[in-house]
């Protein structure tokens, strides 16, 4: 167990800091308070990327987002992850932000950031200002009456699609969590973003061998073309043989409290032709039960179209270069 966990001393008022790009901002706004910050950057074991014996790769929790996106192994074998990371934040922030921190960043809901308004995530039991407020950026899937905030990461959308596994270290020892089980839906406890328990620390993220490097695409739609959080984003990874889909992964960002995958839609695409019609059916399955609010109902149709477009782009990853248009 790293000394950093011992230094937390079991006191919830003490916090860990790595890249600092989110927690330092939250501290300035008085959203997070800390009696003591423990700088975990000196933990050298967590700062690397290396091949695993099973052919997969381990991303160290303290490796930066930029170094991860530009790592030769990631660029060659997991280009979907590289694309997703580079769609997020800015070059400066990616140079600071760490992989573990990316998973632990908080929502950018305006009301979560405004300490003068009620917010169940910031102040449990105080109410949700977004449900009847300005909710353009908010959730359409998996939300609750308590919270309609979305999880803002791009990197995690790709990690969800790639079936990553989170490695955790803590006072009770080491354990792993499948990516799908790491983040939570809000339910009536929206103040709990994920299934880490207090005192635990992410040591790394493992990605299985299968990187879908031939047919992948990450599409991010937002209010400006760079340096902005997603309204809707889609990570698509396809395994295609003889013009037939053998395996499909589709994960959405910007629409829910966690990266969103619907296994029924992925199963539907198995052994099907990679056609616009089939991708449209998959999109309908994914958005089944989606619910919009006053300012974000457009996201339902936007997400469907983004899924279709991104699946088509995944057939020819060349179409992802700036200015290129997808075609089928």
């Amino acid at each position: 167990m790293p000394d950093a966990i011992t230094e937390l001393n079991g006191d919830i008022r003490n916090k860990l800091v790595a890249g600092g790009t989110n927690i330092n901002d939250l501290l300035k706004y008085f959203i997070t308070k800390a009696d003591k910050l423990v700088d975990i950057n000196p933990i050298k074991d967590f700062n690397s990327i290396f091949r695993l014996e099973n052919g997969g790769v381990r991303l160290g929790a303290l490796h930066t987002n930029a170094d991860t996106a530009y790592d030769p192994i990631i660029e060659e074998c997991y280009p979907l992850l590289s694309k997703a990371i580079l769609a997020g934040a800015s070059a400066q922030i990616r140079n600071m932000a760490t992989n573990g921190g990316n998973l632990l960043q908080r929502t950018r809901c305006y009301y979560f950031y405004d300490i003068n308004t009620p917010c169940n995530k910031r102040d449990p039991g105080s109410g949700c200002s977004a449900i009847n407020g300005y909710n353009r950026i908010h959730a359409i899937l998996g939300q609750s009456e308590s919270c309609i905030a979305v999880f803002p990461s791009d990197m995690c959308v790709a990690l969800a699609a790639l079936d990553a596994v989170v490695n955790i270290d803590g006072p009770e020892g080491e354990r792993t969590l499948p990516f799908a089980d790491f983040h939570r839906i809000p339910g009536d406890t929206p103040h709990i973003d994920n299934n880490l328990t207090y005192g635990e620390i992410i040591s790394g993220i493992d990605i299985p061998k299968k990187g879908f490097e031939k047919n992948y695409s990450y599409l991010k739609l937002r209010d400006r073309s760079s340096y902005s959080f997603a309204l809707v984003s889609v990570a698509t990874a396809l395994d295609i043989e003889d013009s037939t889909i053998k395996e499909a992964r589709i994960a959405l960002g910007g629409v829910a409290h966690k990266p969103w995958r619907v296994i029924e839609a992925e199963d539907f695409l198995k052994e099907k032709q990679p056609s616009r019609e089939n991708f449209a059916i998959a999109a309908d399955i994914i958005l089944e039960g989606a619910k919009g609010y006053k300012h974000n109902s457009f996201k339902i149709e936007l997400a469907k179209r983004a899924i279709i477009r991104n699946c088509i782009m995944a057939l020819n990853p060349e179409t992802q270069r700036p200015g290129a248009k997808p075609s089928l």
Binding site: V17, D25, A66, A89, S90, A91, Q92, N95, S226, P322
Partner: protein, 161 residues
């Protein structure tokens, strides 16, 4: 840590060594501006949204508002004051002047540090890629075209030191 909660930190800024006692909650930006008086680095939003506070830490461009001074003990930091070689302007500085890459100038130190960092990373080749990798620096005067022109001119070798 002394009785004012200060930690002793050693920083190398623009080639000069500084030994400081700073409180743990002070951002690197405030260390540079308020403690060391390198006021070239600007505080725009102080929340990581504008890029005005961009400096180079160990050669990499970062936002000095979102890191703490105590976390940079032992680091080599370059601010806008350390970009030129004495009176000889850096190629990016020359290009900014000649391509009208600023109006009010408030974002300019961050833009120049960011451009120098980006050129070192060598990940942007086309104009579109330069625009994408410079998107962390906002310019509210709207000098963006001149900024990208200036960076492209440096990339194309028009401004050697």
């Amino acid at each position: 840590m002394n009785n004012r909660n200060e930690h002793s930190v050693s920083l190398n800024v623009n080639g000069r060594h500084y030994q400081l006692d700073i409180q743990p909650w002070v951002s690197l930006l405030d260390v540079l501006r308020e403690h060391l008086h390198f006021t070239g680095t600007k505080k725009g939003c102080d929340h990581g949204q504008c890029g005005a506070c961009t400096v180079l830490v160990n050669g990499k461009r970062i936002l000095s508002c979102l890191t703490l001074g105590v976390m940079k003990d032992g680091a080599q930091i370059t601010t806008i004051e350390g970009i030129s070689n004495g009176e000889n302007l850096h190629p990016v500085q020359k290009a900014f002047i000649e391509h009208d890459a600023f109006q009010c100038g408030y974002c300019t130190p961050g833009q120049i540090c960011s451009a120098v960092g980006m050129l070192g990373e060598n990940k942007a080749q086309t104009r579109e890629e330069v625009q994408e990798l410079m998107s962390g620096n906002l310019c509210r005067c709207g000098a963006n075209k001149g900024i990208i022109d200036a960076v492209m001119a440096v990339k194309e070798g028009g401004y050697n030191e």
